[in-house]
Symmetry: C2
Amino acid sequence: MTVMTPIATARRRAETGLAARQLAREGFAGTTAGLAPGHVQGNLAILPRDQAADFLRFCTLNPKPCPVIGLSEPGDPRIPALGADLDIRTDLPRYRVWRDGALVEEPTDITAHWRDDLVAFVIGCSFSFEEALLAAGVPLRHIACGCNVAMWRTSIACAPAGPFAGPMVVSMRPLRAADAIRAIQITSRFPAVHGAPVHLGDPSLIGIDDITRPHYGDAVPVEADELPVFWACGVTPQAAIVASRVPFAITHAPGSMLVTDLLNAQLAAL
Amino acid sequence: MTVMTPIATARRRAETGLAARQLAREGFAGTTAGLAPGHVQGNLAILPRDQAADFLRFCTLNPKPCPVIGLSEPGDPRIPALGADLDIRTDLPRYRVWRDGALVEEPTDITAHWRDDLVAFVIGCSFSFEEALLAAGVPLRHIACGCNVAMWRTSIACAPAGPFAGPMVVSMRPLRAADAIRAIQITSRFPAVHGAPVHLGDPSLIGIDDITRPHYGDAVPVEADELPVFWACGVTPQAAIVASRVPFAITHAPGSMLVTDLLNAQLAAL
């Protein structure tokens, strides 16, 4: 059954991770932003076992952009730690299938692509720390504007592992100094979802030449009394997979995350 | 007995808070910086009971610049919580005596000034968090330069209480962004010694017109790849006392702090 569910209706219906995953199974193909408030959402990367070991090394060496919050057994589409019933083949609204670094398909279900050597990685996502920031009264302009966060490739090189390498991608949120300090405190509590910022202030120091033109997402203004604050971003591992031109990989489609049964509050390190 | 003990000798001798206080009792009149490593040092303010209630309100309303870590009973020169043998009349190397806002004396002992209505306040000092920063590898330029930290009066108004009011005084340490983020994390653990910074980046946003000319302490350069990071400073309460022109007050002399038996590590909130 494929039913295109309007987002407003989806939000009303998906109060839990399970409900959000059931929506995806029923064919909902929209963004998961705003679904199942309070629940951890994750970036998805699926690789054959031959590349999975190197990719796990890549994540381990680059924990700020690539915090692994879930990992499947080879060939097993379940990740019980993130949801008892979770089936990684059906539970995201939309996927991207990559062959030799080229996007070949954007299905809403990857059952037909599943193989007994595939390993699924779930990687923390900034939605979790943004919820904590908003709860503390830290304003987030891209959310106020209803647009996507602005992201850039930087001059910060990830530690390479096998075929996986490339620049760290960062997201930027403009904040006044007092809010930036508070945001550093709050996000430091959440190492599993990128943790504290990697930079703030002068963008050129991390290789960003034009703060008005993001490489991904939407531009937001940085006002004169604000600092741009940069967090490591989950686009980093996806960009490394694409750049590696590995023969086969599957990722989530942008904005179409895995919604888990974990609560954001459970990720707090302190 | 008044013996001027050279600082290097004092450091060798004063490994504990008690040893540092004994040095002061013997007449050592130098800086306490570097004495009794690992031990909490504090700013001192002594006021008659008539003003002490308002001053305690002032501290409570302005906890970042005025964190009270010790408080005596009226007329009692002891503060056992900070040191079993501690006598606030003799245990600092040098004091300042103020009458109607004017500095009238800088004695090494205030026994002759003691009265049965005096209340002693001990207020946290940045020495404690600087130790934690250095231990974490965060470089502090004023320490590398062997000079005093740079301080400014700001446009941030303290909440007033009775005769006590005035601007927040801040200290500034120039740091690269990654070190600034780490410094925010580390100092957030120490609310009893000023805690997290109150500002970073553009000095003009807190009323500092010239970052090269501090109001107190010594100038240090802010390099192109650094941010100035500003912490609330224990000079704030002393400046408020002087500005209040209360009839009588005693403070520590600059750099001549109370060395306590508390360990800096004991102040960590988490």
